[in-house]
């Protein structure tokens, strides 16, 4: 049954990106999608927010020395809205992000994260602000995410979080490689196709 690594927890240093409605064009602008592989996309994560028109580095957490080995991204509401480009979570993952905690996520984006084994964790808006503040005051401190028990721990405090049940189950049981899952019953698929009126 198991087809991919079991992901039961994530531990790492936090990095906060503030603001609601952070869309996929901000996460990776369309002009950096012009490639036939996902290799090397990490350097384009938040590209336009990190690098100015003259090539100068802008003030952005992804540029900040203190966060260079951070792996838990903490965001606000409707993160990842807009396009279906998997390039967005690919760029974040290839930059080093292993899990994302936020108030809410766009649907296609969170599905794309699951496909990569990157947990997306939902937390109360006030708690998010608190965590973002704590990260900014304590860069380099670790955050623990318990995916099985749906809670996070930082600064000696435990907070309840939510992970969509289908995502949680897939991660914990190591069944998030959907291709393997879907490829196991070709006969059943063929039979159903035969019953659909518009399929010749």
């Amino acid at each position: 049954m198991k087809n991919s690594p079991e992901i039961k927890y994530a531990i790492g240093k936090g990095i906060a990106i503030r603001g609601s409605d952070i869309d996929t064009d901000q996460i990776i602008p369309a002009r950096y999608l012009k490639a036939i592989t996902f290799d090397g996309l990490g350097e384009f994560a938040f590209r336009d927010l990190r690098i100015g028109s003259k090539g100068e580095l802008l003030d952005h957490p992804f540029n900040d020395e203190e966060y260079q080995n951070a792996s838990i991204l903490v965001v606000n509401s409707n993160f990842g809205c807009g396009s279906s480009r998997e390039h967005a979570p690919q760029a974040l993952m290839r930059w080093g992000i292993k899990a994302i905690i936020g108030h809410s996520f766009a649907e296609i984006f969170s599905g794309n994260c699951l496909a990569l084994g990157v947990p997306v964790v939902e937390m109360d808006a006030v708690q998010i602000e608190k965590l973002q503040e704590w990260i900014e005051l304590n860069p380099g401190e670790e955050i623990h995410i318990d995916i099985v028990g749906e809670e996070i721990e930082y600064n000696l405090e435990r907070i309840n979080v939510k992970i969509p049940e289908s995502h949680r189950k897939a991660l914990v049981e190591g069944i998030w490689d959907t291709t393997a899952l879907l490829k196991s019953n070709p006969e059943e698929v063929k039979q159903l196709a035969g019953e659909i009126p518009y399929i010749k």
Partner: protein, 468 residues
């Protein structure tokens, strides 16, 4: 939970089984692919030694990166050429039909599917593009998917998906003159928010939808995703069947039309269907809409004032302040009179024949403002040809518009059609995100094609109704 809706019926008839994680395995009736999000998926299945399971249910075209001026090969942009070549070889190898630039059928994937009759009621349709929701206008269940899911569909013709809630959006009243479907959807997103539809599918209905053309319904379903809803649909009716009848698929095979008609009628939502919730909107109150910010939800009617972020709920405030700084507007200002540098008529939202016809009526006999570069990018080669047969190209050209070849163009600026510096663009597209049109300082104002036409002529945001 919803019951008896089109969504429930189509979902149930395409469900292969429940998966161990609680999601369902759904059969995919039509898989559309393009050059940006598919090459990695082909790469993944090659790596795993898999083959495309149902190539006959897969159709490809090229739209995002294609130049709209000079399409001679190789393309001037090496990366674009590489993506194009990759799509050609992938489709050839897998025996997938490809509507390329020399086919006469090329265009934006969400324009091409419907115009060729590939898109049909009661289908499940997926594509690696969030605007796949467009196809819902035909009563199909159509979703945007990521590249790993494209791999799933290529390898199995199925997809793993969790069931969503169904929200009915009842659209009453009558649209005023030069108020369009685009204004309806911008109003819906304004009220329900850019995340209001997360976890939902939108069923659009009511008298105003019944009266709307297929093109108008497509514009509305297209922007469902801008309201957070991954899919939106309209129940099929006579308008839908008339459109289908005129497509190649059914002109060639009228018997097939008669065979499928009972199925199409059977998947309509029941009279007493149960919805998770219902939202009503009155068309009589809608005027031409324009956005003042950097999300599609930040819009107002043309005669309204730009809102004050301090009067908004806290979660909207910070994003509104950021947006107003970027757009250089202040609370209490009008959008009317806002100077523009570029006018863009195109995109999968508004690049169909009726969009071009309506815009043409505004432009006819007038001249584009000397400060504005204006362009029309038809949604497909067929739209372009049909428009030229009616002489629309001449009207646009005489007014000073560029008349381009089909593609996504300046909607997302993956080809050479881009804003420069802090240019402001009146755009008939779907996203006003910062950087969307190719320049991180660029400013996008979303509106209907007739409103773009009006702005192109005057050089500033204009109430199209005052121009007639």
């Amino acid at each position: 939970m919803s019951e008896g809706t089109l969504y429930d019926k189509v979902w149930d008839s395409h469900k292969v089984r429940e998966l161990p994680n609680g999601q369902d395995q759904l059969f995919v009736g039509l898989h559309l692919i393009h050059e940006v999000t598919s090459p990695q998926a082909f790469g993944m299945i090659r790596e795993k030694g898999m083959e495309v399971a149902y190539p006959e249910l897969t159709h490809a075209t090229v739209d995002h990166i294609i130049p709209t001026k000079d399409q001679s090969r190789p393309f001037k942009d090496d990366q674009a050429e590489q993506m194009m070549a990759e799509l050609e070889s992938n489709t050839l190898e897998a025996n997938i039909k490809f509507a390329g630039p020399t086919s006469g059928d090329q265009g934006i994937v969400h324009v091409v599917g419907p115009e060729r009759g590939l898109t049909q009621p009661g289908m499940t349709i997926v594509c690696g593009d969030s605007h796949t929701s467009t196809h819902g206008a035909f009563g199909a269940l159509a979703f945007g998917i990521g590249t790993t899911q494209i791999r799933d569909v290529l390898a199995t013709q199925t997809i793993a998906l969790g069931r969503q809630k169904v929200r009915k959006i009842e659209i009453k009243g009558e649209l005023g003159e030069y108020v369009t479907a685009k204004d309806i959807i911008l109003t819906i997103i304004r009220h329900l928010g850019t995340d209001g539809g997360v976890g939902h599918v939108y069923e659009y209905g009511g008298p105003a939808i019944s009266k709307l053309s297929m093109e108008g319904r497509m514009s509305i379903c297209n922007m469902s995703i801008e309201g957070g809803a991954r899919a939106g649909y309209v129940n099929p009716d006579e308008t839908t069947y008339e459109w289908l009848k005129s497509t190649d698929t059914f002109k060639k095979d009228p018997k097939r039309f008669e065979e499928l008609l009972p199925y199409w009628k059977s998947i309509r939502s029941e009279e007493g269907a149960k919805y998770d919730d219902i939202f009503e909107i009155d068309c009589n109150k809608i005027e031409p809409m324009v956005t003042w910010g950097t999300t599609p939800g930040q819009g107002i009617g043309i005669s309204e004032k730009i809102p004050d972020p301090n009067s908004m709920v806290e979660s909207k405030r910070e994003s509104a302040i950021r947006a107003q700084n970027h757009m250089r507007v202040s609370p209490g200002d009008d959008m009317k009179g806002y100077k523009i540098d570029v006018a863009f008529i195109g995109s999968c939202t508004n690049s169909r024949l009726s969009d071009l016809r309506e815009a043409c009526k505004i432009v006819d006999g007038k001249t584009v403002s000397s400060d504005v570069r204006a362009m029309v990018v038809p949604g497909s080669q067929r739209v372009k040809l049909a428009a030229e047969e009616e002489g629309l190209d001449k009207i646009f050209l005489e007014a000073g518009f560029d008349w381009r070849l089909a593609g996504c163009s300046m909607c997302l600026a993956m080809n050479e059609d881009q804003l420069i510096g802090d240019e402001a663009c009146a755009s008939s597209s779907n996203r006003n995100f910062i950087g969307r049109q190719g320049s991180k300082d660029g400013r996008t104002i979303l509106m209907s094609p007739v409103m773009v036409a009006a702005a192109a002529i005057t050089g500033e945001i204009t109430d199209v109704r005052e121009m007639i």
